[in-house]
């Protein structure tokens, strides 16, 4: 609208000022050439009578502030929005945080009861015992390099730092024998049941969730910093205005200068999401114009459609803070996340498709804690565990 405002100002000055300047005249005529419909408007303005008619019409539509309160159009609008607001909660954000606080309080209370009577809500105590023994994994994070090296990383470190020397987060070298790697393309693969983080050559930090893969160069040469991601990761991109940072996933491209955001793009799921915590990013998918995101917004890609909306960011980055957070998430969707983290094959009975989960649990804990939360939501959910196979039934 800036362009429109400038044009409005230019035209207004041109018509009110008797000493018309030649430059503006040429400017306006060139503009009219490009936009034929403006020819009509220009003609109207040159013809004083027509223009004054337009001004009269505009003026007849005015309404002073005193009468605004009784304006029938406004009354109609307010009646109609009141109908819709009653159905939808007005401020979902606030509402959600109150609800969460409430749930936390209830959960604490019920957890206490659960503790005293562990066998009551869970019909099969042996299932709970099995569940308690299921923990997130520890091994299997691999780093492969374009020059042929492929190493399994020590998970106890939790992260690696990219540089001329490849190091663990405690500073110890990746290769004990002093092997040098130069200008390689790295692929960091985090399996199910694990998470890991990497500091890239430019200082950007990437936290990777289970079953995710990040492909990045050992050093960023060229105009952009480009990495490829499959799965989920949280990025804290180091600021460098001269070199945009680009994350590519199967179907989207995220361009940033320096900011914090979460990308969730599992090829097995029908939705992928980019959630912005800080700064500003541009998200695009093939064949569509890029969309700019502001903090607190999420770009959701379903099939070939990109949609931007407001979300509660905490929900989407909870995993990075070692938490599972559910806000009315369907059991089916939640099962994917949970399964990925505990490396379980979870099967959900279609009869449970309307069950939605609420609340949060620490995810470093055993699977039993998650089960308790699920059973808090709905006591009728039955669980069967057999090795790494879990079935939720009615």
């Amino acid at each position: 609208m800036k362009r429109i405002d400038q044009t409005v100002l230019q035209w207004k000055r041109y018509f009110i000022n008797p000493t018309r300047d030649r430059a503006t005249e040429i400017d306006i005529n060139t503009f009219v050439e490009k936009h034929p419909s403006l020819k009509e408007l220009l003609g109207e303005m040159e013809n004083n009578d027509q223009f004054i008619e337009a001004i009269k019409l505009y003026n007849s539509l005015s309404q002073d502030d005193d009468h605004m309160a009784n304006d029938p159009i406004l009354t109609k609008i307010l009646d109609r929005i009141q109908e819709t607001t009653e159905i939808q909660p007005v401020n979902k954000m606030k509402w959600f945080s109150y609800a969460l606080a409430g749930i936390a309080a209830c959960a604490a209370l019920v957890m206490g009861i659960l503790w005293l009577q562990p066998s009551q809500p869970i019909k099969q105590p042996d299932t709970m015992e099995l569940a308690t023994n299921i923990l997130p994994g520890k091994n299997g994070v691999r780093l492969s390099m374009s020059d042929g090296w492929n190493v399994e990383l020590r998970s106890d470190e939790g992260g690696i730092i990219t540089g001329d020397q490849l190091r663990y987060s405690d500073g110890s070298p990746l290769f004990d024998d002093g092997t040098q790697v130069n200008d390689a393309v790295m692929t960091l693969s985090v399996p199910r049941g694990n998470d890991f983080y990497v500091v890239l050559a430019d200082g950007t930090k990437v936290w990777m969730n289970a079953e995710s893969e990040l492909c990045y160069p050992q050093t960023f040469a060229g105009e952009n910093r480009v990495v490829q991601l499959t799965g989920e990761a949280y990025f804290e991109v180091a600021k460098d205005k001269s070199k945009p940072f680009i994350v590519e996933t199967v179907n989207q491209r995220i361009e940033v200068l320096g900011t914090h955001f979460n990308v969730n793009a599992y090829p097995t799921e029908r939705k992928s999401a980019v959630t912005l915590v800080e700064g500003r990013i541009a998200v695009s998918i093939e064949g569509q114009k890029e969309r700019v995101l502001y903090p607190g917004q999420q770009a959701l890609v379903t099939q070939k459609h990109l949609e931007v909306g407001d979300v509660n960011v905490d929900e989407y980055i909870a995993w990075k803070n070692d938490e599972f957070m559910f806000n009315e998430e369907s059991l089916v969707e939640a099962a994917n996340r949970i399964g990925r983290w505990y490396d379980l094959d979870i099967d959900v009975d279609p009869a449970l498709k309307d069950i939605h989960l609420w609340g949060s649990v620490p995810r470093r804990e055993n699977f039993g804690q998650v089960l308790k939360l699920i059973q808090l939501t709905n006591k009728n959910v039955k669980v069967e565990i057999e090795g790494r196979r879990v079935r939720f039934m009615k």
């Binding site: 405002d5 419909s37 004054i52 969309r291």
Partner: protein
């Protein structure tokens, strides 16, 4: 400059506040939006449908839709562009003509789309131009304002005006030409405000 600059900042502040209110689901925000855009939108829609009554219904619909899309309308420009595009679509719908553009999602800035649609661009320009001229008139000293309105909007003769305002004919003439001169002056000053707003835009975006 100081005063005009101040007005500009006040307006920006007011916009931010009411947009925020609206986004948060507060009805006062919508009422403010309505107060600001009611008149130009009615004018804009009448241009298509030719009837004030129909235009009032359409305008009511548009604001209900804007309310439902409020979380996507965080910037004043998005809101304004959204309202105009919806207004055109609703008008064409009423006239049973195919719609100009789909509004399933609301881009942060419609500007490019608007510039591509010649017809909507022309009509927005007409509306905004008249709106802003009338805003300038509102800034005139009271006597000049009255003379201006009676002369141009109510087609009153100099004699009628001088009788109504208890002024001599010479005074009416003087006020009329002063009104036009003041308008001109205001517009020149406004040039500074535009530069200022451009700077403002450049630094904030």
């Amino acid at each position: 400059m100081g005063k005009l600059g101040g007005d500009y900042m006040d307006r920006e502040m007011e916009n931010t506040i009411f947009l925020n209110n609206m986004c948060n689901g507060e009805v006062e925000g919508l009422t403010t939006a309505y107060r600001l855009y009611r008149q130009p939108l009615l004018f804009f829609v009448i241009r298509y449908v030719g009837s004030r009554e129909v235009a009032e219904d359409i305008v009511a619909d548009i604001f209900v839709k804007a309310w439902n899309a409020r979380t996507k309308l965080r910037r004043i420009d998005s809101l304004r562009a959204y309202l105009y595009v919806m207004a055109k679509n609703a008008s064409l719908n009423y006239l049973r003509r195919p719609q100009a553009m789909s509004l399933e999602d609301v881009p942060a800035d419609f500007e490019e789309t608007l510039l591509e649609d010649d017809d909507i661009f022309g009509n927005i320009l007409r509306t905004e131009l008249i709106k802003s001229i009338m805003e300038e008139v509102d800034r005139l000293p009271l006597k000049q304002q009255e003379v201006f309105r009676y002369t141009f909007l109510e087609d009153m003769s100099v004699e009628e005006i001088s009788e109504k305002l208890q002024l001599s004919a010479t005074a009416v003439y003087a006020n009329r030409s002063r009104a036009i001169a003041t308008l001109r002056e205001l517009l020149m000053k406004k040039g500074l405000v535009v530069t200022f707003s451009l700077l403002h835009t450049l630094f904030l975006q």
